[in-house]
């Protein structure tokens, strides 16, 4: 049975690139254009991994992570932040919100899959 991943980014190109990479690793990707759209996708949906952008309209990545972590069923789902931001204070905010890891764009597909291999249980 394939694993499911939720990809959240306001850039359609980014959603496409991340989804393609995840499919290569056997994931079934779901997508959302912002935090709110992604939360709507999550309702009643089991996911094995979430990859989210930080700066998005409507609901940003930090608010989205906090909302996800507030739901019991998603407390332990790995959440990777994939963003252009690399400042230490932003990373600290991501960590405090409940992110599992921080990846700075642009991502290399091979390296992304290595990270996913570390955070998603086999």
């Amino acid at each position: 049975m394939s694993k499911t991943a939720l990809v959240v980014d306001d850039s359609a190109t980014m959603r496409e690139m991340v989804s393609y990479t995840l499919k290569q690793a056997g994931f079934e990707p779901l997508t959302g254009g912002n935090g709110q759209e992604a939360l709507d996708q999550l309702t009643g949906q089991a996911v094995d991994l979430i990859i989210t952008d930080l700066n998005m309209p409507v609901m940003d990545g930090l608010s989205f992570i906090k909302a996800v972590r507030s739901r019991d069923e998603y407390k332990f789902v790995p959440i990777l932040m994939l963003t252009t931001e690399s400042q230490a204070d932003m990373k600290a905010q991501g960590k405090a919100a409940g992110a599992t890891g921080w990846l700075v764009k642009p991502f290399n597909p091979e390296m992304l899959l290595q990270v996913i291999g570390k955070v998603v249980p086999k």
Partner: protein, 203 residues
């Protein structure tokens, strides 16, 4: 009229002084009007240039967006075809094992590797969009700044006086407030200078 010659001299001197002051005021008024006109000209020119730059940025955003859509679509077709070709070749090579099939498998392997570089490079669209949005926001703030300064200039049009000390203090405070807004308004989210892959940190 005074009959005292000294007093007459004083009257003449006062009249001359009054005339000189009037001339000075008139020339000052003319100078300030010209300065006002110059400031308005600067504002109009700045506004015109802001609009041109904003138009160019919008055009660039449209072109980048279109390029990203077309490249993503082409990428989808190529990767799907490459995947299907690889499967077909694997089956054929397993059955045949001849050199051409082996070479074709190598080629598809190179294509797969190049796909990774393509994925990394296509992310230019996300960064370019964020940078354009940032520049657009700055332009909007500068336009607002220019407009505010123009309003301030309009307030100094009436004579006399051009500006009271209180109005001048308010003008400086307004200038400082807008300068701070411009400096601290929006954080720049994209610091990348290339499409090299970014750092990774697990918490």
């Amino acid at each position: 009229m005074s009959e005292n010659p000294v007093s007459q001299d004083h009257d003449a001197a006062d009249a001359a002084q009054a005339e000189a002051i009037a001339r000075y005021l008139e020339s000052s008024r003319d100078l300030i009007d010209r300065l006002q006109s110059l400031r308005e000209g600067v504002h109009d020119t700045l506004n015109e240039q802001f609009q041109i730059v904003a138009g160019d940025l919008e055009q660039l955003r449209a072109i980048l967006g279109d390029a990203a859509i077309k490249l993503s679509s082409a990428f989808r077709v190529i990767t799907t075809s490459a995947g299907q070709m690889r499967c077909a070749l694997d089956e054929a090579a397993a059955a045949d094992g001849s050199d051409p099939f082996v070479r074709l498998r190598e080629i598809t392997s190179e294509m797969t590797s190049t796909t990774g570089t393509t994925i990394q490079s296509l992310q230019f669209e996300d960064m370019a969009s964020q940078l354009l949005a940032h520049v657009n926001h700055r332009l909007g703030a500068l336009q607002q700044f220019s407009k505010e300064m123009s309003i301030l200039n309009a307030g100094s049009n009436h004579l006399p006086p051009y500006l009271t000390e209180k109005e001048l203090d308010a003008a400086f405070a307004n200038l400082a407030r807008h300068r701070d807004l411009l400096r601290n308004d929006v954080r720049k989210a994209v610091q990348q200078q290339s499409l090299d892959s970014g750092e990774i940190e697990l918490f």
